[in-house]
């Protein structure tokens, strides 16, 4: 009995490594489909829309008289939408963490505005040119240039290796698509409900 168990464990040990490799490969392959399902599902979109409405309600009640400058209103909504989107990512992606971190930094900056303005960004060292390994892959200068532009578009992805950047970009695009779908549905619902409200009030007057 004991010898049987011993051999079984021995076999399990050697197959553990291969099963671990297999699991890692399956995880890698399902990881991409998992993220897409996460951003494509209707329930995720609905949850995001509800959270967005709640967050917007909170911000409009915080600035007690809502700042009537129309240009700023859009910016506020955009910031709230980005923050809620980043929270929906549950901290698993770099861009979502960067969005939340930059919000934090902004609120700190606003409190110590005078002190922070003096330092500025001149002292930050620039990232060196791509390493030799990456250079061999991006032999065409066009690719290297595009990678740099892409890294500037995706938040928080300035100095990371190309593979991570492409992964982040894929997730970021799927998230942005969901954001657009959810906000479009939201504007539709709000404008329809407003039209109902205005329509019913005018009919009651007549």
């Amino acid at each position: 009995m004991d010898s049987n168990n011993f051999f079984h464990d021995l076999h399990a040990d050697t197959s553990l490594e291969s099963s671990r490799k297999k699991r890692r490969k399956i995880e890698a392959e399902s990881h991409s489909s998992e993220t897409e399902i996460k951003w494509k599902s209707e329930s995720a979109q609905r949850i995001y829309a509800v959270k967005l409405v709640e967050a917007l309600q909170r911000t409009s009640s915080q600035n007690a008289p809502p700042a009537p400058s129309e240009a700023a209103g859009g910016r506020v909504v955009r910031d709230v939408a980005d923050r809620v989107l980043a929270m929906a990512a549950k901290g698993r992606t770099r861009w979502s963490r960067a969005i939340l971190a930059s919000r934090l930094r902004l609120t700190m900056l606003r409190r110590h505005r005078k002190v922070k303005k003096a330092s500025g960004s001149a002292s930050r060292p620039r990232k060196p040119l791509p390493t030799a390994a990456e250079d061999r892959k991006n032999r065409l200068p066009a690719v290297g240039n595009r990678v740099k532009i892409l890294s500037r578009l995706v938040p928080g992805c300035k100095g990371i290796p190309v593979t991570n950047l492409l992964e982040e970009a894929g997730d970021y695009i799927a998230a942005l698509q969901m954001q657009v779908r959810a906000m479009t549905a939201l504007t539709e619902i709000i404008s329809v409900s407003q039209g109902d409200r205005l329509g019913s009030s005018s009919s009651s007057q007549a």
């Binding site: 991409s32 955009r78 939408a81 990678v147």
Partner: protein, 93 residues
Amino acid sequence: MSSRRSRSRQSGNSRITEDQIADLVSKLQQLIPEIRNRRSDKQVSASKVLQETCNYIRSLHREVDDLSQRLSELLASSDTDSDQAAIIRSLLM
């Protein structure tokens, strides 16, 4: 090929394999409607995919900005909480 991929993952991405990049580029290709709808079976060049990705992200940003503007205008004109409760209810259904 699979062993090569998992080995490079273990080394912490110090050697970026051709496979990984091709994988991710094709994944991006699927996401971008421009390239997907063109229905070209042959491989699109990586540079083209990257360019389309950048353009697509910029257009998505613009769309979100527009929607934010519209939303802020709509919300500014309707202040009642009952409205927003009705919105949430209709969203959940």
